[in-house]
Symmetry: C2
Subunit: 139 residues, 2 copies
């Protein structure tokens, strides 16, 4: 599951930065600066207050996960998609998008459709075995 | 399945156009100009010789199908993906990418992962029914 991230609260000085860099010089004295989210870290951009990726791509492992999403779907497309989904459902969307992206990188031709096809085959086989069993039982 | 398209043969005057527009004025006299592929029609760009989308997105219904692919994955990402797949397997890749794109537009939160989850559930239910049947048979 996706890591959670700072919510832009009073101690979230990352959100207050005015410069485009990730240096800590612009943080308030004595405060602990938050790192950019994994998506902004990967994109090497400023992680602004309200960053749509921040709650779902943590600073630690989020960048690697976002790399797959970015390569397959593109940051802009995923951002637009998330903006059209209620906040309460975005976590699920990010999980399924990440799953699809990883599957497409692992299998560029079929992506996660290979799983759909394998499961359809499995259903047919299990149903077939069941029917064969019923047929044997009635003989 | 995807429509096929002109292969850039001797009569494929679309490939010979030098201008960026789709007008027929630049076609050779007496020739029947081919329309741009569905992807280039959607992107309103010149469909050049060797267009990577042309064999898979026909001029008629290809534009509508490409619109979904473009909205979800982006033309650039799909182009890069196809370029890394052997030509003989690209048709399958386009079919699965189109399927994923349509599924994501229909269900922005789960996309085709909803099908994976439904099939997994179906396998569990069918296997469960089979085991219950075996259990009843042995009693």
């Amino acid at each position: 599951m996706a890591e959670t991230h700072g919510n832009g609260g009073p101690t979230d000085n990352r959100r207050k930065r005015a410069s485009g860099s990730f240096d800590v010089a612009s943080s308030e004295p004595g405060s602990i600066p938050n790192p950019p989210c994994g998506a902004c870290k990967f994109l090497r951009r400023k992680c602004v207050n309200g960053c749509i990726f921040a709650p779902y791509f943590g600073s630690d492992q989020g960048a690697a996960r976002f790399a797959a999403v970015h390569k397959v779907f593109g940051a802009s497309n995923v951002s637009k998609l998330l903006m059209h989904i209620p906040v309460s459902r975005r976590q699920h969307a990010v999980v399924t998008i990440s799953y699809e992206a990883q599957a497409r990188l692992s299998d560029p031709v079929y992506g996660c459709v290979s799983t759909v096809l394998a499961l359809q085959q499995q259903v047919l086989e299990v149903v077939g075995r069941g029917q064969a069993g019923l047929g044997n039982g009635s003989n």
